[in-house]
């Protein structure tokens, strides 16, 4: 047995390494046999020729015998793969145009998908690194009815977290988590960084033992104030401490408090942060307990007035999701009752119907999926369609090639090569092409992915396509699939090959036949191109509509300057003086056109107060009215127009009569049909002094670009929280590039360890436009790609047809057909074909429109202009694609065409 194995191995090794020698031996051996046999016949008196013929007949098919002998050697598998590969490479090299075309087509298709996979995987599928058993870990959402609509939110209070810990039974761990942007460090490297404030239980959700030191324990995470200990993030430890282990025990300033470093988290540990890796992890109770933001937050663990964190929980094994959710909901109702006993204005459980949801940890898979994620999902299915089109194109090219090779294939079949072997060879070719295409596609995905990520995930830590193994596996899988799919078509061709027919007919077919499979593939491409281009048109128009929306303020020239006071305790007067000084200095800076004070910035913060208006029962019921407090230059700095009355002036000081400027919509909401100027608003209670309306401003977009009701009012900053003011600077040009220089020039004004952050306004607005940008860019890119692929496909089919019809066209020309007749025949064929595609594709796009409708803005999914333009584009492409072969057809020389018969 052992010796058998050994000889087997020896034989195989010899066969692998001395392949040529063995091949020669086989040749010699067979030749010897046949010659010997022939000798026998000659000895019996036959002629040399007759003897040799008889010997060959007696031996049988030489090639088959050789083939079977190789099989007998038992390594045919490995060897024949090598052989197939060689054969494939040789065949592909003979046809460089075809090879390069197919590789590029597949590279674009695979690259597009790889790039989109990187994004969608991050948004929707990938769970945080090192999370143990992610399927049982949930982000908890709380839902209740509010003014007739149900809203679900994951942001909640620490008190709620304690309630859920106390009253749920189906969870093995619950953790509290919040990422805050806080100043970290001291001296020159003080910067605002992501700080994760977490419960001690959070670490138990992960398989992530600390790199050095330890995590904090439940005893260090207790109300009212936890232990002032900190765990560094791995990246921060590496860059700011050089990975030294003597950091343990050192102090570190985080926000307004000082902590002691007790450990370092392992590489890649980011907890549940979706804003990149946190620099530091601190006990959530240490942060909340030492947070000096006024007395109302000091009882953060007994009251429900500070919603600032999220709850993550691990279901116990054996507990179903439904059980866990009902357990959570029961606990939430108890918690709700508790909250209501403290705050009687809260509606009762019976009215609000509070219930809890245990969603996947990825926020984009929770109940509040962003429009961006939805668009990204759409775009990735578009990428899949592009790949499909690319495959169709390649299959089409392969089919054309295999039809051209029909004779070669028939000959090889006749020579005794088995169909199975032939199929394997064809498959090897297509897999080789797909593999090469996939390799190139990775590069395409690498560059393209970087581009798409800047559109979709600018805040996420960039991961590289080429180093991410999930993306690599994905690329490999789709390359394989593409190879198999594109290889299918010619394989069917082989299986149908009828030997005698092919050999007989050869290349001279009197009547040309168009392959039905090729026609079908081409039609599919045309249809899909129409659908994608219609999608592109819809998103481009949406983006243009969104861009055309007037926000009520300028974006590009504005810088937002936010003073961060940190632990510094200034009197209100001193703080207000600092901010006045900031705006005056800013105004004098070169490059600054004007500067003004404000209180909030759109999209980032909202300030509201209770309002009372004579004759209106409850102002709150009419909507949410947001406050902006401003200095006199505000309106001109921001570019917000005053429609009637006046703006805020320098005469509106602390002790002068209180005044307000209202947005147009607020004025008409509070005093419909009446003049709002001169009316009286009261704040906090109906006994407070009048705030007189002195002006009407245009509406601005405060919280949403598309859905904002524009209910704002403006107060003089001197009359409303001057100590909390922020600065807006209007730059003469290039605001974004000057943010850092403005910061550097203003920073010296900041007392103590307080500091400034300067943000270009467009960075605040852009994320709100991003979903349309993504949709428009990607649909356009993919739609264009699809169109080009379809045009190439059409071109190759028509060019092939023309080549096949040389004879027929020659006859026509010989019978007196002119250039225009020939062109009409060929181009008409192509156009007719695409027209069918346009009609079918338009139908499909009309039908699919209703699903994409919610992602659009102010454009109907049935927009006739878009459909018209797309149809025209397709027909144009078809015209060009068929005109080139048509012109070639007119040059057919009838004598040559006919003589070749």
């Amino acid at each position: 047995m052992i010796s058998g194995l050994l000889s087997d191995l020896k034989y195989r090794l010899r066969a692998v390494f001395r392949r040529n020698a063995m091949e020669h031996e086989l040749d010699d051996e067979v030749r010897f046999h046949i010659e010997r046999e022939a000798e026998k016949y000659r000895a019996a008196g036959m002629t040399a020729e007759e003897a040799s013929r008889r010997a060959h007949v007696a031996f049988g098919g030489v090639d088959v015998v050789k083939e079977e002998s190789r099989d007998g050697r038992g390594l045919s598998y490995l060897e024949s793969i090598v052989q197939d590969l060689r054969y494939a490479i040789r065949a592909l090299r003979r046809n460089p145009g075809f090879t390069v075309g197919v590789m590029l087509t597949l590279a674009l298709g695979i690259g597009a998908n790889t790039a989109m996979f990187g994004v969608v995987d991050r948004l929707l599928f990938r769970s945080p690194p090192l999370l143990r058993d992610p399927d049982r870990v949930h982000r908890i959402y709380f839902a209740s009815m509010d003014r007739g609509t149900e809203d679900a939110r994951s942001g909640t209070e620490y008190t709620r977290y304690l309630d859920m810990r106390r009253w749920t039974t189906d969870f093995s761990e619950l953790a509290a988590f919040s990422v805050r942007g806080l100043a970290v460090g001291g001296g020159s490297d003080i910067r605002e960084r992501q700080v994760a404030t977490v419960s001690a239980s959070l670490f138990d959700l992960f398989d992530a033992p600390p790199a050095i030191g330890r995590y904090f324990t439940a005893q260090e995470d207790t109300v009212p104030v936890g232990a002032m200990v900190a765990v560094l993030g791995y990246g921060y430890w590496q860059t700011n401490y050089g990975g030294r282990s003597d950091v343990l025990g050192q102090p570190i300033d985080v926000g307004s408090a000082r902590y002691t470093i007790i450990g370092v988290a392992p590489r890649n540990f980011i907890a549940f942060s979706e804003e990149g890796p946190p620099a530091v992890f601190v006990p959530i109770t240490a942060y909340a307990g030492s947070f000096r933001a006024g007395p109302q937050l000091s009882n953060y663990y007994t009251r429900y007035n500070w919603s600032w964190m999220e709850i993550l929980a691990r279901r116990k094994p054996g507990t179903t999701l439904a059980q866990a959710e009902s357990d959570l909901s029961r606990a939430y109702r108890l918690s709700w009752d508790n909250e209501q006993s403290l705050q009687h204005s809260l509606p009762a459980v019976e009215i609000a119907h509070p219930h809890a949801i245990a969603a996947p940890v990825q926020t984009e898979r929770g109940p509040n999926q962003s429009r961006l994620a939805k668009v990204a999902a759409w775009v990735s299915s578009v990428a899949a369609i592009v790949l499909l089109i690319a495959c169709a194109n390649v299959a089409n090219l392969m089919l054309a090639r295999s039809i051209r090779r029909r004779r070669e294939i028939a000959v090889r079949l006749a020579l005794g090569v088995s169909k199975g072997r032939l199929v394997r060879q064809l498959l090897t070719e297509s897999l080789l092409l797909a593999g090469a295409g996939g390799g190139l596609g990775l590069l395409v995905g690498h560059w393209g992915g970087a581009l798409i990520r800047t559109l979709v995930l600018p805040d996420h830590g960039a991961s590289h396509t080429l180093s991410d193994h999930r993306t690599l596996w994905f690329a490999l899988a789709i390359s394989l699939a593409a190879g198999v799919i594109t290889g299918m078509a010619p394989i069917f061709q082989v299986r149908r090959t009828d030997l005698s027919d092919s050999l007989k007919a050869g290349m001279r077919e009197g009547v040309y036949r168009r392959s039905r499979a090729r026609t079908g593939l081409l039609l599919l491409q045309a249809v899909l191109s129409v659908v994608l281009l219609v999608g592109a048109g819809l998103f481009v128009r949406s983006l243009r509509n969104v861009d055309a929306i007037r926000l009520g303020y300028d974006v590009d020239p504005i810088l937002y300057v936010y003073p961060n006071t940190r632990s510094l305790k200034l009197s209100d007067d001193a703080s207000a003086a600092t901010r006045r000084q900031l705006v005056e200095t800013a105004r004098a800076l070169p490059g600054v056109e004007s500067a003004a004070l404000g209180l909030t910035v759109p999209f980032w913060d909202t300030w509201t107060e209770y309002l009372f208006v004579a004759g209106i029962d409850s102002v709150e019921r009419l909507g949410s009215f947001t406050i902006q407090a401003v200095s006199p230059e505000y309106f001109s700095t921001m570019g917000t127009r005053i429609l009637r009355g006046r703006g805020i002036t320098a005469e509106d000081r602390k002790n002068t009569p209180k005044v307000a400027v209202l947005s147009h919509s607020m004025a008409t909401t509070l005093w419909p049909g009446r003049d709002a100027l001169g009316q009286c608003l009261r704040m906090d209670s109906d006994t407070m002094p009048c705030i007189t309306v002195v002006g009407i401003a245009e509406d601005i977009k405060q919280n949403s670009i598309t859905e904002d009701r524009g209910l704002q009012y403006y107060l003089p900053i001197e009359q409303f929280h001057p100590e909390a003011a922020v600065v807006f600077a209007r730059m003469k040009e290039g605001a974004a590039g000057q943010a850092e220089s403005v910061r550097r020039q203003l920073q010296p004004l900041m007392p103590g360890d307080s500091y400034l952050t300067v943000t270009p306004m467009h960075e605040i607005i852009d994320p709100n436009v991003r979903s349309w940008q993504l949709g428009a860019t990607m649909f356009l890119a993919f739609g264009g790609l699809a169109l080009v692929l379809a045009a190439i496909g059409l071109y190759s089919v028509i060019a092939y047809d023309v080549a096949q019809r040389t004879h027929e066209l020659g006859v026509r020309i010989a019978l007196g057909a002119g250039v225009s007749d020939v062109v009409r025949v060929v181009v008409g064929d192509g156009l007719r074909f695409i027209l069918i595609g346009v009609v079918l594709g338009s139908g499909l796009a009309l039908w699919a429109g209703r699903w994409i409708q919610p992602l659009l803005y102010a454009v109907s999914p049935h927009d006739p202009l878009i459909f018209g333009v797309v149809a025209a584009a397709l027909l144009l492409a078809a015209g060009v694609a068929s005109l080139l072969p048509a012109l070639r057809a007119t040059r057919v020389d009838p004598t040559v065409a006919l003589r070749s018969e």
Binding site: Y11, V30, H33, G60, S69, R70, G72
Partner: protein, 110 residues
Amino acid sequence: MSEERLDLPQGTLDLLILKALSLGPQHGWAISERLHQVSRATLQVPQGSLYPALHRLERRGWISARWDTSDNNRKAKYYELTRSGRRQLEDEAEDWRRLTAAVELVLAMR
């Protein structure tokens, strides 16, 4: 040529080759000749099919091959039985006898 030539039952070609080689080293053509003559031209052994079988037997280590000069002074590939090949021949021959004896018994049934 005889009218009644028999196709070989599956798997018996190996046995015949081993047997032919048990009388001494031979090259492929001589094996085919010997089988043809000894069976009085009854057995239909396609000459070509000999070679895949020879290669299979060589891989299994039952026969070994070397190049040598043939009787007409040309290089030919000679096969000879190895020790394990000899054992294999005995086993297979025994199996064959038992099988044919059993088939005989069944056919002799009245």
